[in-house]
């Protein structure tokens, strides 16, 4: 999946140097380097699919995510 809006904006701004064939949600991933005001930074290729897949899955999240006890609810009054 290409990201035309983002990529063209970044390339125009000189912010992002693209390595070929990057697509996070597909299976082949490369590295990205970003140069902002700092020296160039290497970003490791994206590998954390296990996290992403679960957190994008409403069904699984509904089963796993439970309301936490919120101790702050005890506090009252304007702060």
């Amino acid at each position: 999946m290409l990201r035309p809006r983002l990529i063209s904006a970044l390339v125009a701004g000189g912010a992002l140097l693209m390595a070929a064939g990057i697509a996070m949600l597909s299976s082949s991933v490369g590295g990205v380097s970003v140069s902002l005001a700092s020296p160039r930074l290497e970003i490791e290729p994206f590998e954390d699919f296990a996290c992403l897949e679960c957190h994008a899955d409403q069904q699984r999240l509904s089963e796993l995510a439970v309301e936490e006890e919120a101790p702050e609810a005890l506090s009252s009054g304007p702060g």
């Binding site: 999946m1 990201r3 809006r5 983002l6 970044l10 992002l16 990057i22 996070m24 949600l25 990205v32 970003v34 902002l36 005001a37 700092s38 930074l41 970003i43 490791e44 994206f46 590998e47 954390d48 699919f49 296990a50 996290c51 992403l52 897949e53 679960c54 957190h55 994008a56 409403q58 999240l61 509904s62 796993l64 995510a65 439970v66 309301e67 936490e68 919120a70 101790p71 702050e72 005890l74 506090s75 009252s76 009054g77 304007p78 702060g79």
Partner: protein
């Protein structure tokens, strides 16, 4: 603010986030934990909040990172100032323990303004983990600045209209810019929200307003006073919240909580104790802040021995600006009106010493 379902708080909108540069970065680099398909294992070693540190956001955002780190939103130095001025060094450890229990969720991280709702309202992704350049007024800013700023700005206090800027559909960001929120251009280390020149100043936008006898204006109240005599809010702000007696404690299970005993609406003009070239006004609205000598007695005895070193009626800039207020009705709304000024009569006897520099002498009401 509509409450979020538990799943919704942690649900990533893969499509929206997929358009975001940060989706190139591994989750674990920011959150810790481990990328495995097992709920328990995946979250082991996860950081509670993604913090602004040179290793995380500051690594790429080299301009924003360091200054935001020194800003009041991150350091909460304003609270230190308010506590330590009233205390002595030997009490600092007890006060620090108190702050660690009660103030931690007030620190604003980058994520509190750009990714999630703050912890104080239970967190939750604001737009499916997309990093938004512009924070959400209602889900981020006022989630923390709820009871005073929000109620005043939105007009939620009974009988008090919303701020004229709210009615003009302005959000927080039109006045509180990225640079200010990131602590840029702050003159040295900030110790209080009113350090330096007003930011924003009313005249930054209303540059056509002139005051003083030479002013080119039809408005008599503008020409009768100089800009440096009265803060604009003395006329253009109205009734706001005043708080009394904050107490912090823990439940039997050790859960910290605080209560503010009481609050009431009022409007009081006092003397400006912050007077400087940047803030020359002699008269400003003042607000009662929720502190008492025994506010923190749960953590030790007499932790605020210098209680009288700092007023309990503080310089205020309420967010309920109006063109017409009770003060602007006639000259006599203020002149010779004891009720409107903070005098010995308004202030609790026990707090008079602390407020001696704020009190307007009954004989010198203008």
């Amino acid at each position: 603010m509509t409450p979020m379902e538990p799943w919704e708080r942690v649900w990533i909108d893969a499509e929206a986030f997929g358009q975001d540069i940060h989706s190139y970065i591994n989750c674990t680099e920011c959150h810790g934990g481990e990328a495995v398909d097992d709920f328990e294992l995946a979250h082991e070693g996860q950081v509670e909040r993604v913090v602004n540190s040179p290793e995380v956001c500051g690594r790429c955002h080299v301009d924003v990172g360091p200054t935001q780190y020194d800003s009041l939103h991150n350091t909460l130095a304003g609270y230190d100032t308010a506590l330590y001025e009233r205390s002595t060094p030997e009490n600092h450890p007890a006060l620090e323990e108190m702050q660690a229990n009660h103030c931690n969720q007030c620190h604003a991280t980058c994520g509190d303004c750009h990714v999630s709702q703050p912890t104080s309202v239970g967190g939750g992704l604001v737009s499916g983990h997309d990093f938004e350049a512009s924070p959400s007024m209602s889900r981020q800013c006022t989630a923390c600045h709820g009871s005073r700023v929000k109620n005043e700005y939105y007009g939620a206090n009974e009988g008090v209209p919303s701020d004229v800027h709210f009615r003009a559909r302005m959000d927080c960001m039109e006045c509180h810019t990225a640079d200010a929120m990131h602590g840029m251009g702050a003159a040295g280390e900030q110790t209080s929200r009113y350090d330096g020149a007003p930011d924003p100043g009313c005249l930054d936008c209303h540059d056509d307003i002139e005051m003083g006898e030479d002013a080119d204006t039809e408005i008599e109240m503008h020409s009768a006073h100089d800009e440096y005599d009265l803060a604009c809010q003395v006329c253009h702000s109205t009734t706001y919240t005043n708080c009394v007696n904050c107490h912090v404690e823990q439940t039997e299970d050790g859960v910290p909580f605080y209560t503010v005993e009481d609050h009431y609406l009022g409007f009081y003009i006092g003397l400006n104790t912050n007077r400087s070239e940047d803030r020359p006004y002699e008269y400003v609205p003042v607000r009662h802040v929720p502190i008492a000598p025994d506010s923190f007695s749960f953590y030790g005895e007499d932790l605020l021995p210098n209680f009288d070193e700092r007023p309990t009626w503080m310089y205020a800039t309420p967010h309920n600006i109006q063109r017409v207020t009770p003060q602007t009705e006639t000259c006599d709304s203020c002149h010779d009106n004891d009720e409107l000024f903070l005098t010995r009569r308004t202030v609790d006897r026990a707090e008079r010493r602390a407020n001696q520099d704020v009190l307007v002498d009954l004989d010198s009401i203008p």
